[in-house]
């Protein structure tokens, strides 16, 4: 079993299973804060999946996408929590 088989058949399914679990919390989440947290964690898991893909396909340029996703995750969390806090202020 080579490294690429190991990454493709074991590491990627584990990451995808965790993404599915997080998405279940995103659908179920009792409050809107839970949904924002699970969106943030979903994007963070996506960064990991992109990193594993860049090893498997030997494309180092995929890491640019991971950097942009990290920026977008922080920005979306800050913006959503800002409006969540402002929503009921008198």
């Amino acid at each position: 079993m080579t490294l690429f088989d190991y990454l493709y058949y074991i590491i990627l399914p584990v990451l995808v299973i965790s993404a599915v679990l997080i998405f279940w919390r995103f659908l179920k989440g009792p409050s809107i804060a839970d949904k924002i947290i699970s969106l943030d964690l979903l994007i963070t898991t996506g960064i990991g999946i992109i990193a594993v893909y860049s090893i498997i396909y030997n494309h180092s340029t995929l890491m640019d996408t991971a950097l942009i996703l990290a920026l977008i995750a922080f920005l979306s969390t800050v913006a959503l929590s800002y409006y969540l806090e402002k929503r009921r202020r008198k």
């Binding site: 919390r25 963070t44 960064i47 990193a51 090893i55 995750a73 922080f74 969540l84």
Partner: protein, 141 residues
């Protein structure tokens, strides 16, 4: 080969920590506990997977880029966790009913959003989740 074993071990631990974060997000009983899960386990897991890419490519471009991503995640995860935790405290999300204590009880001001270090004598302006529960019980009964 040795380098393959290092890459495989780093990716394994990273994926394991991300899976633990996902299980924690499902199993934790409270919004605040879920926030603590996402900031610790997932950050470490993604950091380890990115370290695996630096070992695989072993070239200055990818290494610097991966370290920028790791540094950025490590800097922004606590900030976003604090922001979302503060917002969820203000919009009135309750703590777990088996929580031992709530140190912020009565210290956040409802209208000005100022945090005071003592509980002052304006109870209508202090955010107090336990008092809200008692009022709900009164209106129900």
């Amino acid at each position: 080969m040795m380098i393959d074993i290092i890459i495989g071990a780093l990716a394994t631990f990273g994926a394991l920590f991300v899976l633990l974060a996902a299980v924690g997000l499902i199993r934790m009983p409270d919004t605040y506990l879920r926030i603590s899960v996402t900031t610790k386990a997932a950050t470490l897991g993604v950091g380890l997977v990115l370290m695996a890419t630096t070992v695989y490519f072993s070239n200055a471009d990818v290494t610097s880029q991966a370290f920028v991503i790791i540094l950025f995640i490590f800097l922004t995860a606590p900030v976003s966790a604090h922001l979302i935790g503060r917002a969820s405290y203000f919009i009135g999300i309750k703590l777990w009913d088996k929580s031992v204590m709530d140190e912020l009880r009565g210290k956040y001001q409802k209208n000005t959003h100022v945090l005071k270090s003592i509980v002052d004598d304006t109870p209508e302006d202090n955010i107090d989740h336990t008092r809200d529960e008692e009022e709900e019980e009164k209106t129900e009964s």
